[in-house]
Amino acid sequence: MLIINCPLCGPRDHAEFTYVGDATKNRPENGDSSNDHAWYDFVYLRDNPKGLHEELWQHSFGCRCFVKVLRNTLTHEIIATGMPKDNLILKEKGLELSV
C-alpha cells in the first residue's frame, strides 16, 4: 500500500488516487504541427527510469486535484509530494539514488 501525502487532504491511501503518469512530459504549443518530433516525444517516448520518477496522480476520490509525486520505481518509496507546478527534484537536491 502506498500512502500519498496529498498537499490539500493530507496522507491518503493510494487506492483513492488515479495514476496519470510521467510528470516530466510537456505538451508542445497548441497548433504547432510543424514539429513532429516534439509530438512524438510527448505522446510516446518515456524515460522510464529505474529509480526516481516524477509522476502525476489524481486524487479522484478526494479533492480531485492533480498531485505530483517523486517516487522510487525500484522500492516504491515516496520521497516527496507537491502541487503539479512544484519542482520536487530541486527540493530534494543532493539525493542520489544508487541502483
Binding site: 503518469g21 517516448l45 516504491h76
Partner: protein
C-alpha cells in the same frame, strides 16, 4: 548432449539416476562474439537457438544478470494463444502457436504444451458482437475460433456463475481450442539445453553495465564479468528494456509496470481450460499440480520492483469471484510480481533500432510468454539478415513516429490501459 529418450530413462533408472549429464554448460566467456543477446529468458534463448539452427551463426553469447528463466519466463501464467484480430499480431502469434505445437520434439525436451483451449467470456450484446467480429477475422486469417453460446459453455464449464441476476451474466464466449498452457520453466530449460548443444554460450550472473560505441555502432558490451567485443547486439530483457536503453541514451515508447500473479492451494481437477472474464481483467487455469493459476491487471503505476500491492490483489480476486463464486473458500498459497514492458499501443516492438547493430525485442506487455518461440524465430531472422521477417515487419519501432498504432484494444497511447 545425450538425447533424452525412454531408453535413456530406463538405463539411468538402474543407476539411481546418478549419471545424468548436466543439461547445459557453464562456459567461461570468450573475448568476442558475433552476436550478443542480452537476457536469458525464453525470448533471448529462443533467439539464440534459432540463430544457431536456422541461420548457422554459432558464435553467440546470451548474457543473463541473474539465473536463466528467473525473470518473466518464470513469473507468468503460462497461457499460449493466438486469438488476435489485427494482421500485424494475428499472423505473428499464429506462427508462434504453430512453433509451440512442435516445440517439445524440436527441443527433445517436454515443455508440457497442453492445448486445452482458451475461452474469452462475453457478458453483453456488444461484447458478443465484438467477439463475433474477432472470431470471424481470425477464421479469415486461417486461425481456429469458435463462438459458443451460454448452453455450450455451461456444458464445458459448469463451475462458472450462470445466474441471470448478476451484474455480468454470461452470454457467450469465443473459444480457441488450439490455445492452452505450457510449463514455463521447461520452456527456458529446453531452449537453453538446445541452444547450448549448438554451441551458444549462456553466461549467467553477468549483468550489462554499459556499452562502448563507435560511430553509430555498439562495439563493446561492458558487463560485471568483463567486456566483450560484439558484432551485433539484441535486447531481450522485457521489463528492464527501459533501463538498458538508458545506458545508450535511447528513449523508447515503453513504461515498466508490475504485474502480479497467483497460485491457490492444489485441488482435484476442476478447471479444464483457460478461461478469461470479459467484464473485468481476470484469467485462470489449473496447473498439472492442481493449483489454480490466475492473474489480472497490472498495478497501474511505473515500477521495476518485482512485488505488488494489496489493493490490486483484492481487485483481481473480486473479478475472479464474480466469475467463479466457488473460489471464495480457496486459499492463495503463492503470489509474485513481474516487471512488464508495457508499450504505448499494447503490441510488441521487435526489429531494428536507431543504432546500426542493435536489435530490439521488447514491449510485450502481458503477453510475452505465448510469443516465446515466434519471437525467437523472427528476431533471429531480423538479426541474421539485418532486415525484419515478414511476420514482424509491422511490429517495428517506426510505427510510433508515424502514428500507425497496432492497438488491439483501441485504448490509445496509455501503457497501463493495454
Amino acid at each position: 548432449m545425450a538425447k533424452y529418450s525412454i531408453f535413456n530413462i530406463i538405463k539411468n533408472a538402474f543407476n539411481e539416476d546418478k549419471n545424468w549429464a548436466r543439461a547445459w554448460r557453464d562456459p567461461e566467456p570468450k573475448k568476442s562474439y558475433d552476436v550478443i543477446i542480452i537476457g536469458a529468458g525464453g525470448h533471448g534463448l529462443a533467439s539464440a537457438f534459432y540463430l544457431a539452427k536456422n541461420h548457422g551463426i554459432r558464435n553467440i553469447a546470451v548474457l543473463e544478470k541473474g539465473y536463466l528463466g528467473g525473470g518473466n519466463t518464470g513469473r507468468n501464467t503460462t497461457i499460449v494463444r493466438s486469438n488476435y484480430m489485427l494482421d500485424e499480431n494475428a499472423h505473428f502469434y499464429e506462427k508462434s502457436l504453430q512453433l509451440w505445437e512442435q516445440l517439445s520434439s524440436e527441443l527433445n525436451y517436454n515443455v508440457m504444451f497442453s492445448q486445452r483451449g482458451v475461452l474469452n467470456l462475453a457478458h453483453t450484446d456488444s461484447q458478443i458482437d465484438a467477439i463475433t467480429r474477432r472470431g470471424n477475422t481470425m477464421r479469415l486469417n486461417g486461425i481456429d475460433a469458435e463462438l459458443l453460446d451460454e448452453k455450450q459453455i455451461r456444458k464445458l464449464m459448469p463451475y462458472l456463475d450462470f445466474s441471470n441476476d448478476v451484474r455480468f451474466p454470461i452470454k457467450g464466449g469465443l473459444l480457441q481450442r488450439r490455445g492452452g498452457t505450457a510449463r514455463h520453466d521447461a520452456v527456458a530449460w529446453g531452449l537453453a539445453r538446445a541452444a547450448d548443444s549448438l554451441g551458444v554460450d549462456i553466461i549467467q550472473n553477468c549483468e550489462v553495465i554499459g556499452f562502448e560505441e563507435t560511430g553509430n555502432k555498439i562495439t563493446v558490451v561492458k558487463t560485471s564479468r568483463g567486456n566483450f567485443n560484439c558484432g551485433k547486439v539484441g535486447f531481450a530483457v522485457a521489463g528492464n528494456t527501459g533501463h538498458l536503453a538508458s545506458l545508450i541514451n535511447l528513449k523508447l515508447p515503453i513504461e515498466s509496470h508490475v504485474l502480479q500473479a497467483f497460485v491457490s492451494e492444489p485441488l482435484k481437477p476442476m478447471i479444464d481450460h483457460v478461461v478469461t472474464f470479459g467484464a473485468g481483467h481476470f484469467y485462470i487455469s489449473q496447473s498439472d499440480k492442481g493449483g489454480l493459476v490466475f492473474g489480472g491487471d497490472i498495478d497501474m503505476y511505473n515500477s521495476y520492483a518485482q512485488k505488488g500491492n494489496l489493493p490490486l490483489i483484492e481487485e483481481v480476486v473480486t473479478a475472479g469471484l464474480a466469475m467463479i463464486p466457488s473460489l471464495s473458500r480457496l486459499r492463495i498459497t503463492r503470489h509474485w510480481g513481474g516487471v512488464m514492458d508495457m508499450s504505448m499501443d499494447g503490441s510488441p516492438i521487435i526489429g531494428k533500432s536507431p543504432i546500426d547493430n542493435l536489435y530490439l525485442n521488447c514491449g510485450w506487455c502481458y503477453g510475452g510468454f505465448k510469443a516465446t518461440p515466434g519471437s525467437g524465430w523472427v528476431f533471429a531472422h531480423t538479426i541474421a539478415n539485418d532486415e525484419p521477417h515478414r511476420l514482424n515487419k509491422g511490429l517495428n519501432l517506426e510505427r510510433f513516429k508515424k502514428g500507425r498504432m497496432v492497438d488491439e484494444r483501441g485504448a490509445g497511447p496509455f501503457p497501463n490501459r493495454h
